[in-house]
Symmetry: C2
Subunit: 331 residues, 2 copies
Amino acid sequence: MATIRDVAQLSGVSVSTVSRVLNKSGYVNQETEHKVNLAIQTLQYEPSAVARGLASKRSRTIALILSNMMNPFFPELARAVEEVARTFGYTVFFGSSDDQADKEQAYIEIFRQRYVDGIIFSSHTLGMEEALRLNSSHIPYIVLDRAPSDEVCSVVRSNNRAGARLAVQHLLDRGCSKIAHIYGPQGIRTAQERLRGYEDIVKHLPWYSPSLLIPGNFLLDGGITAAEQMMERHPDVDGVFVGNDLMAVGVLKSLLRMGIQVPEQVAICGFDGIQLTEATEPEITTVAQPIYELGALATRLLIQKINGEAVANSLHELDVTLIPRASTRKD
Amino acid sequence: MATIRDVAQLSGVSVSTVSRVLNKSGYVNQETEHKVNLAIQTLQYEPSAVARGLASKRSRTIALILSNMMNPFFPELARAVEEVARTFGYTVFFGSSDDQADKEQAYIEIFRQRYVDGIIFSSHTLGMEEALRLNSSHIPYIVLDRAPSDEVCSVVRSNNRAGARLAVQHLLDRGCSKIAHIYGPQGIRTAQERLRGYEDIVKHLPWYSPSLLIPGNFLLDGGITAAEQMMERHPDVDGVFVGNDLMAVGVLKSLLRMGIQVPEQVAICGFDGIQLTEATEPEITTVAQPIYELGALATRLLIQKINGEAVANSLHELDVTLIPRASTRKD
DNA sequence: CTGAAAGCGCTTACAG
DNA sequence: CTGAAAGCGCTTACAG
């Protein structure tokens, strides 16, 4: 592999000059530039990102730490991060924390050693102390979805509460007269917000009762169990807002097994907008998060921070969209 | 951040010695080692992976280039690669080619500039010339699933043909008496092999006719279309072996919409073993590839190659497993 | 068992 | 507009 020296020699200039044309920094005579570029071509020279990193203290590399690759959000999110990063000349490292604080911490160390310029967290474990430690280490980072606090860092997420209201209102509009809610782990802020959104709408309706709230675990099997519990408690529910899509798929499966017609007897609305909701029969109505946008925005913000452009810590809440499908089509 | 110099100074030894204890290379007196480790502790020293990379020409980094993050295989594959890599002290870069040769080529360049120690391809675009070019550039790599040729590189994949035979035999065992096959794009070797496996079993059966072969695109909507075509051509089929799970889900959806009972009227068996097959009602019987194993093996082989241990180019074909589920339960 | 020195391939002030 | 020099933080022979 050719080095910057070879290029300098072949084009008859100094290494510094080659570096300047490489980085388009400082002044350089057009003719000189031309000669250098010619040499680069003929030598098929490619600068070593590693040497650059060491000399400049910038690796043009960012890391995405996520809770779990199996998370259905991950592919689209990763894609957004990767595409935006590439556009700006960054390459991306991935690490999964499995929602274990020590794994996450280990990855932070690894990435620090690799001089990553910034980190995007889409992990549920980032705690307050870790956030503060990151702050004091001056490595830029963005938190997706869930943050220990909105003040200490920059956060990008969906407007979950408003989305939940959309969902419940939609069920009402479709004629549902008794709507249950299967909620996710209340340790997760997202799940909390969606529960609140549900309550916002139904709290003062005559049929409302707290027993319409069924706990779930945000996983498919949790949806199955919750649906059984729901039908036992309230055989007369005719609509259910499920805290996330994975559980909604479980709910559908469970109801169909019990011989309950969807949407005729019970209408289902999920939340997230993952592809799985289109794979079932009937397809499931859902409130879609702008997953790609979340990832793209987080990446853009991170790069701004890296460039020292960004302002202080900020909260960015993106709007969600209701996607009506067969699971709520009561005609 | 502390550097190796700081550690050397604090422990009263030379930089070389610190380097030796860091790398556990060469001899070093136990007492000295202790002093050094103490200094490392108190300074919270972490060696710079970038400097190490530049000096040693090894970055302890590998790249995974895949066709598309949306591919349902990707999460589990990525997880396997990440976990095994981490075990051996490697960090992993991701890049997606979207099955475009130029994107793939661009990523190869990027990763080369970053001194990655090796590459795993799970992309359909790696051509013969690229493989040869990689060979001559001496960067170790492994190809997953699809390779331009088994001779020029190391390949890890499933035994698709045998798996297809398993699937078809299972349908026969469950009492199917006329089995169609929805196949994938014949440009993809995987699809070819599965078609062959189907033919191996049914070719000489009395009811077999080439019109039982229906083309598909390996995507969900392709399954929907293919199922319609299948029922039109052969209203009396009672079993179908679908070339991959994504299409199988589409087939199920399509049949249910037509009011056809699954498995009573038509039994369905897919291929791949993705989670989606468990989300439907009924759940879909499938031939599962050992996805995690494929990724783990590829990573282990790659690291062997990096360490110069590995032998010549080799083909590794892993066994698949039939997972019987409700979609073929004709009781 | 340990240290001094060169070098990995760049970037970055500093002069000119 | 250009070049010489120092330095980024390590590793790697080479002596001893």
